[in-house]
């Protein structure tokens, strides 16, 4: 058969329904593509053909029997390597978990598979999701499929690139300070960071527990909504998952935007933004206005403090979460004369430079005598940033910003200065601290053909609204501005 331009969820479904392709042949097709592209792009760290073909055969048997197919029947899925998959290597992009095979599946994976999705393999990422360029992976960086001399963004760079290169139909990523939205922006694909608590994190290997979330990448906002309908909702295995009602996200994306008030934070367009990014995002805002949105200038006065608060909170939580990697229960061990020496050698050699730096910073800000000055101060500033959002949402229905102040940069261009890399996370970190949902949707390209992303924030548990706005924006040609 002739392949569609993009294997979206509806394309997969209609090809299966029309018997143009079997689920098994579709898996063959995707593994053939991966084989062709992966040595250059370095997107997949592990493939799971046994599990993929077993699931495909189940789907094909259902089709042969004339059974009703579940929502995601036959849909090829890529999973970020920080999300547990039973029996499939899960390394978090780190040497310290080399060869580790989880004894169970994350709930998000279980739900997607139960809905018929086919897990192809695990995607590359910054080590323990710490990074904004994918250059912190112990297994080498991913290349951006749109421009292979550029980074794909991070930390979920492999998942974003898998969609951009059409090496999966849907992908799961995780976002702690922007790690879904920013790679979505850099690779030119829609990417949703749901509200804190919206998607179960059971089986997500923790980085910063008060910030970590799981969310989807896909070719279209409609497909993002379809995935959300499957993975959202309360999970008894995750006490932080919310019981809030899960609406029909697919039905909600077509509402007209007339009368919606969109807030544009003046503070976000101040210094440091690339002129071409600003120009595209301004064009994006005008497109939304053309579709009936009312533009409202708002202030988010504590934005300037978000990065500092974020790096205190995230590293503090990381230093605690990563204490478990000590060579006792999983991953390689480096022997030592004493137990402590074994811990120190295993951790010293198993973790990469960025992870060690963050563990040291996090341990420092939590250590005796510094707790009040750093961690407590950070938590108070976090309250102020959440208040900025609460007050903004009293005036507007959604907030529109650039996803990243810069387009994708060249590999190696920014690795020498971690602080400079952190500062570029400003537009995404604020929403991470506040717990609100945010989507990045393609918003034109620079003169060099590099993707720009428009970010839409909504109030907590209103991912229906941000996907609605993003879907209309996408249909109106937002990607081609």
């Amino acid at each position: 058969m002739s392949a569609p331009a993009k294997w979206t969820i509806p394309e997969v479904r209609s090809a299966l329904d029309a018997r143009k392709i079997s689920a098994r042949e579709l898996v063959d097709e995707f593994y053939a593509r991966i084989k062709r592209r992966n040595s250059e792009l370095n997107i997949y760290l592990a493939l799971s053909p046994e599990r993929a073909y077993a699931q495909a055969d189940k789907i094909d048997a259902s089709i042969a029997a004339g059974d009703a197919l579940p929502t995601l029947a036959g849909v090829p899925l890529a999973v970020k390597d920080v999300i547990s998959t039973h029996g499939i290597p899960t390394t978090c992009g780190s040497r310290i978990l080399e060869g580790y095979k989880p004894p169970y599946d994350a709930t998000a994976v279980t739900r997607l598979e139960r809905a018929g999705a086919i897990i192809l393999g695990k995607t590359n990422c910054d080590e323990f999701a710490m990074g904004s360029s994918n250059e912190n992976s112990a297994y080498g960086p991913v290349r951006n499929p749109v421009a292979t001399d550029r980074v794909p963004g991070g930390s979920s760079g492999g998942s974003a690139a898998a969609i951009a290169a059409d090496l999966a139909t849907i992908a799961l990523g995780t976002d702690t300070g922007g790690s879904i939205r920013q790679p979505g922006s850099f690779c030119g694909v829609p990417a949703l960071n749901p509200s804190y608590g919206r998607v179960s994190r059971y089986g997500l290997i923790a980085y910063a527990s008060s910030l970590d979330r799981i969310g989807p990448f896909a070719h279209t906002v409609r497909d993002v909504a379809t995935v959300m309908s499957v993975i959202a909702g309360r999970d008894p295995s995750d006490a932080t998952s919310a019981a809030a009602h899960v609406p029909d996200y697919g039905a909600g994306i077509n509402h007209r935007l007339e009368g919606l008030r969109i807030g544009i934070p003046d503070d976000y367009f101040a210094e440091g933004i690339d002129p071409q990014v600003r120009q595209k995002v301004e064009a994006g805002i005008r497109l939304l206005q053309k579709h009936g949105c009312e533009r409202v200038s708002i202030r988010m006065p504590n934005t300037d403090y978000a990065i500092a608060a974020y790096y205190i909170i995230a590293t503090a939580e990381a230093s605690s979460n990563l204490a478990r990697y000590d060579g006792v229960r999983f991953g390689p061990r480096v022997e030592g004369a004493t137990l402590i020496e074994m811990y120190q050698k295993t951790r010293g050699r198993g973790f990469g430079p960025e992870v060690k730096q963050r563990i040291i910073l996090g341990t420092y800000v939590l250590s005796a005598g510094y707790y009040d000055a750093y961690y407590l101060k950070g938590q108070k500033v976090r309250s102020l940033i959440a208040k900025d959002f609460r007050e903004a949402f009293e005036q507007v229905d959604a907030i529109v910003t650039p996803t990243s102040p810069v387009p994708p940069f060249r590999l190696g261009e920014r690795t020498s200065n971690p602080l400079q890399m952190y500062l570029a996370d400003i537009y995404t970190v604020t929403g991470s601290l506040a717990g609100v949902p945010g989507i990045s949707v393609p918003c034109g390209k620079t003169s060099e053909g590099l993707p720009v992303g428009l970010q839409i924030y909504g109030p907590a548990f209103r991912e229906d609204r941000v996907m609605n706005i993003a879907h209309i924006f996408e249909k109106a040609g937002g990607a081609n501005l």
Binding site: A323, D326, F330, M342, K356, K380, S383, L384
Partner: protein, 99 residues
Amino acid sequence: MKISSEDVLKVAALANLELTDGEVETYRGQLDDILTYIDKLNEIDTSLVEPMAQVVAGPADDSALREDVVARCDVIIEVLGGAPNPEAPYFRVPRVIEK
């Protein structure tokens, strides 16, 4: 300078991290930059602000609480399969108690 090489070594010991001399110097410089940057938080008065202890307040139910029920969990063999040098049903570590 906010942080010395001794500070880095002290914190690395708390975190059970073995560092090379080169790493100590690299991290000292990077941490110094970051902690200096973080100082900007002192510009804002937070004396009347409550720290954010919970990210998103859920609906007013206690669904996070449940009965504590014993369930079977037959993963010992699989878990030990991923451990370095185990002796079923135990993990094994260097001797911590003198003979």
